[in-house]
Amino acid sequence: MEFSTIYAVLDSALRLSIPLLAACLAGLWSERSGVVDIGLEGKMLVAAFAAAAAAHAFGSAWIGLMAGIGAAVAFSLIHGFASISQRGNQIVSGVAINLLAAGLTAIVGNAWYGQGGRTPPLEGAERFQDALFGHSAPVYFALLAVPVTWFVLARTRFGLRLRAVGENPAAVDTAGISVTGLRYSAVVICGVLCGLAGTYLSVGQSAGFLNNMTAGKGFIALAALIFAKWRAWPALGACFLFGLLDAVAIRLQGIALPGIGEVPVQAIQALPYLMTIILLAGVIGTAIPPRASGVPYVKER
């Protein structure tokens, strides 16, 4: 394989891993605070739709980004209300978020634009243009979110408290710090990052929103989060790995490898899921989630 081919594959791997990375870090914030989030997919989807619609309406990708973040945060707050304030089942709430997002984006998109759920194609300033080394600004935001996430969680007081609330909320509460406040702030940060992920999909990578365009990326991000064992730098590695698999799958379509023959695309597509299952089964290492994740906090116990 030539150098230029390798470069092209790596370049597209980076591109494909960005939405995964932003969504994966989003999940990291939420789950580190004890709120399990299987609604990453749905939040990315509403963000992608809102971003494309706003970018089209206002002619600016940046306004699109703000709209995308706004929409994802709104959905995050629904999840937060159900799982923090109402102490509801977080998995059930996540399923609801995903269905709501899939249905609403299709309905509203169809009602507004009448193109079977698509938004009008975006051009010029309505899309994010290449800013540096052939990549647009959201790419760098997502990459920057990795050290920021690591630093805030590992080195600041807020981060310590946030991690503590995901492990032992009662201890945090005893120290006089609001469990609810910490979890809500984590859920909002999760929304912001999902907004970035979704916006990049519709306004950066493609030129507009397509029905159900996240196509399972939110779940791959979830898989990457488990793979990274809920830590920021490994999340970057896991997302890049999954992005690379995706890029290789596209590159290998219809190409026969020497000695192996043609590798079915589906075999490569299945790898992230398979690897996660194997990891969860404890065959290679273990993945232990934050101790209090998924458990609503009841104060007077």
């Binding site: 299987i38 629904i78 159900a82 799982s83 109402q86 102490r87 509801g88 089942n89 977080q90 998995i91 059930v92 709430s93 399923v95 609801a96 978020i97 995903n98 269905l99 709501l100 997002a101 899939a102 249905g103 609403l104 299709a106 309905i107 509203v108 169809n110 009602a111 507004w112 759920g117 399972g216 779940f219 979830l222 898989a223 488990i226 079915p264 589906q266 075999a267 597509q269 299945a270 899921y273 398979l274 996660t276 299952i277 969860l280 089964a281 404890g282 989630p289 009841v298 104060k299 007077e300």
Partner: protein, 367 residues
């Protein structure tokens, strides 16, 4: 904060879900308003399209059959304290099991082939659910995550098989050849015609009877059998189960096997009953609707049948509605199931407190 949540049983099992469903429909009505459509006429079209004609009713009951199966699948796992969101994948594999059985045993007569096809669907669905069940029971992998991953694996696998292996020769479409005629589950209108009664023709087939039988079977199992008791004990308190000599690991695997087999029923109705071939995406999100159905029906077979009927009305009526008011596409049903899952599932406590408050205030007013 935690007000006394004592509710009479009827209020807990009927009133609370009913209130949350009514609220869900109100919110859905707001969505219809927001896109500039009339929710009242939408409701009329919905009811007319689903219940207003014999044909519409047939289609409604066809969808109801799908949801009874997926709802029961979620419910059985739920009783064991497991959240199986893998219904989509299990039904997909169920379709594969049914297709492989009937296509390879096409020399058999129908009275053997149909039961074998149903068994094939159940066995493949059960096997696909058993792996996450085993991993949960023996390796502690979280069942929610593994069933999600198995959904995606199933969809990737079925694409591969239909495109590369099972596709009918000379066909461009990723689907198998037609199932042998004797393996088609008879349509209800054909059955009635055999007795000289004419009913409008629709997709409705005898799978509905199978679904109702499955619901009765689940009721017997969960509430009237030793195994069902063990399942419920594990679901409510696994530690107590251990002290009672029940193995939570064993029950987990058994519950998942049953759950997956029930999800396979979706493939029986859709493929052996109507499509008569294995094709892509025949599960159409019905596995997720099963979650809404189970939550709404309080995981009780009677509740599940009623909730399935409601969703059957929504799916059939929704199709007619999309014809009359094109802005309201069938995605509206997805939105409604999302809201119902949110209200009847995640926000259950909120609605319960609401009902408690209302009941207590009326009691106080009477006293």
């Amino acid at each position: 904060m935690s007000a006394p949540l004592d509710l009479p049983k009827w209020a807990d099992t009927v009133l609370v879900p009913a209130v949350s469903v009514v609220c869900a429909f109100l919110v859905a009505g707001l969505v219809v308003l927001a896109i500039g459509e009339d929710p009242v006429s939408a409701t009329r079209y919905l009811i007319q399209g689903s219940l207003g004609s014999g044909e519409g009713l047939g289609f409604t009951l066809f969808y109801t059959t799908d949801f009874i199966f997926t709802g029961l699948a979620v419910a059985v796992a739920y009783h064991a304290g497991l959240f199986n969101i893998g219904g989509e994948g299990q039904a997909t594999l169920g379709g594969l099991g049914a297709a492989l059985t009937v296509l390879n045993l096409s020399f058999l007569p129908g009275f053997l082939l149909i039961p074998l096809g149903i068994l094939g669907a159940a066995a493949f669905g059960a096997a696909w659910a058993a792996i996450p069940g085993y991993l949960q029971a023996k390796r502690g992998s979280h069942i929610v995550i593994t069933t999600i991953m198995f959904n995606w694996l199933a969809s990737v696998l079925i694409v591969y098989l239909l495109v590369n292996v099972l596709r009918e020769a000379q066909s461009m479409n990723p689907e198998t050849r037609e199932f042998p005629a004797q393996s088609h589950i008879p349509f209800m209108h054909e059955v009635f015609a055999a007795f000289g009664i004419e009913i409008p023709s629709s997709q409705l087939n005898l799978s509905l009877i199978l679904a109702l039988a499955a619901a009765f079977g689940v009721w017997l199992l969960i509430y009237r059998s030793r195994l069902g008791y063990a399942i419920r004990v594990v679901g409510s308190n696994p530690t107590a189960a251990v002290y009672a000599g029940i193995s939570p690991a064993r029950i987990t695997i058994i519950a998942m096997l049953l759950s997956g087999a029930l999800a396979g029923g979706l493939a029986v109705n859709e493929l052996m009953g109507y499509q008569h071939r294995l094709l892509l995406e025949f599960t159409a999100g019905y596995g997720f609707v099963g979650i809404a159905v189970a939550l709404m029906g309080r995981a009780h077979p009677v509740g599940i049948i009623l909730a399935s009927l409601l969703f059957g009305i929504l799916y059939q009526g929704g199709a007619e509605l999309a014809f009359e008011q094109p802005a309201i596409t069938r995605d509206m049903v997805v939105v409604i199931s999302g809201i119902i899952i949110l209200f009847a599932g995640a926000l259950d406590g909120l609605f319960r407190r609401l009902v408690v408050r209302v009941l207590h205030s009326t009691k106080a007013a009477r006293a």
